[in-house]
């Protein structure tokens, strides 16, 4: 926490201090998901013989998104859902205040950004989960295909195919909103999502973090990986070759 005495404003520029907002797990999660989303798209486009890599991208995303959801309850201050998700009335008031340029500045996610966080987390999780049960009607089967009927698998595959376009739309909107925010509010949140730090002029009573609690994140991630591995290993065999 910065604790310098205020200096004489007439002699020097106002002090700006760097405060830490985003822990390492959140930052790692964010950029890993970006890369994995691209990887999932590319590995699917490469063709049916690269399906293995598409699966791996999906597994990684299930793990990371699940982790982020858990982290939203036990992580550092600005990572916790309770600290940035607001009720609809409050969020609407915030949106209006933006237009009136009387909005409160947020160090972490602002109430509108919170909506996008929830949308993307839920959508990507659904996307990856439906993928587990999907089949490409050529020869690739999701690892949990053996649990369900072919008919249900096709329905889930259809969702998986179409949801991609919705997620892409949300991502485009997210990127646009981030750019508008940076330009309009002169608040470089892309840089902040890399370094974890923002520079502030006046001390606010908003919390800044001291430690990333990375050790806790690693334990949670390892636990989730074990669960996923167990589920995959115990899935029933999908296809019986009858010779025809």
């Amino acid at each position: 926490m910065p604790n310098e005495k205020p200096t004489d404003a007439s002699l020097t520029k106002p002090q700006r201090t760097q405060v830490k907002i985003w822990d390492l797990p959140v930052r790692f999660f964010h950029w890993a998901i970006v890369l994995l989303f691209i990887a999932a798209y590319v590995t699917n486009s490469l063709g049916p013989t690269y399906f293995k890599y598409h699966l791996w991208s999906g597994y990684a995303m299930i793990l990371l998104v699940s982790f982020r959801i858990v982290w939203g309850f036990v992580g550092t201050h600005h990572a916790r859902f309770a600290n940035f998700i607001k009720n609809p009335a409050f969020t609407l008031k915030y949106a209006v205040s933006l237009l009136k340029k009387s909005d409160q500045h947020y160090l972490g996610h602002n109430p509108l950004g919170a909506i996008m966080v929830v949308i993307l987390l839920v959508a990507i999780l659904i996307q990856a989960m439906t993928g587990l049960f999907s089949n490409d009607e050529i020869f690739n089967l999701g690892p949990l295909y053996g649990y369900i009927s072919d008919e249900l698998s096709l329905k889930l595959t259809s969702i998986h195919r179409q949801l991609f376009y919705w997620i892409s739309g949300a991502v485009a909107l997210h990127i646009a909103a981030v750019l508008v925010h940076i330009i309009w509010k002169r608040d470089n949140i892309i840089k902040a999502m890399f370094t974890g730090k923002k520079s502030i002029q006046t001390l606010t009573n908003e919390t800044t973090i001291h430690s990333s609690k990375t050790w806790l994140a690693i334990i949670i991630l390892a636990g989730l990986a074990l669960i996923l591995a167990w589920v995959l290993v115990h899935a029933p065999e999908a296809v019986i070759d009858s010779g025809y």
Binding site: T49, K52, I138, F139
Partner: protein, 167 residues
């Protein structure tokens, strides 16, 4: 007119028009409604059956190519030859009348609006299937040549589905 009679006749007229319009969906093609053998529906069931068999034949080839199963040359050759024959069934399986849309078929209307593109893709599939059969006759292991020939056919499946099969 007596208000009660008026209400009853309005309700009757409204019901009649709803029933009539429900019984005559505007987009139903004539072929569907005629009695007797239906060439459109027959084409649909032929191609569905053909694709099922192609898929069944292709799966063991895919397993061998991806190292999930042993490469048994006799078996692989048999499957590859079956795919060549099956692919011929597709030539007559897409008549214009079978453009019935869901739920009858997952064939997109694009097949008929861009017929040359569809025909080209079908031909490529047939040619690449023939190549795969030829390669499997000479390759004694899951060699690079075999994997390549297999990969080309797999891409054909996906490419056609991407353009012409409902998602």
């Amino acid at each position: 007119m007596n208000p009660i009679l008026k209400t009853i006749s309005v309700v009757l007229l409204a019901s009649a028009s709803v029933i009539v319009s429900a019984a005559e969906p505007a987009s139903a093609p004539a072929a569907d409604k005629q009695p007797g053998p239906n060439p459109a529906k027959q084409a649909i069931s032929v191609r569905k059956a053909t694709f099922t068999l192609i898929g069944n034949s292709f799966k063991p080839i895919a397993d061998a190519a991806q190292g999930k199963a042993e490469y048994n040359q006799a078996d692989i050759q048999k499957r590859a030859n079956r795919i060549v024959v099956l692919s011929e069934f597709l030539d007559g399986a897409f008549p214009e009348s079978s453009n019935l849309g869901e739920p009858d078929t997952k064939a997109k209307a694009d097949i008929w609006t861009t017929k040359t593109e569809f025909d080209k893709k079908l031909k490529e599939f047939q040619e690449h299937a023939a190549t795969l059969a030829k390669v499997s006759a000479t390759e004694k292991t899951a060699s690079d040549a075999f994997k390549e020939a297999f990969g080309v056919v797999a891409k054909d499946c996906k490419s056609c589905h991407e353009s012409f099969k409902v998602k």
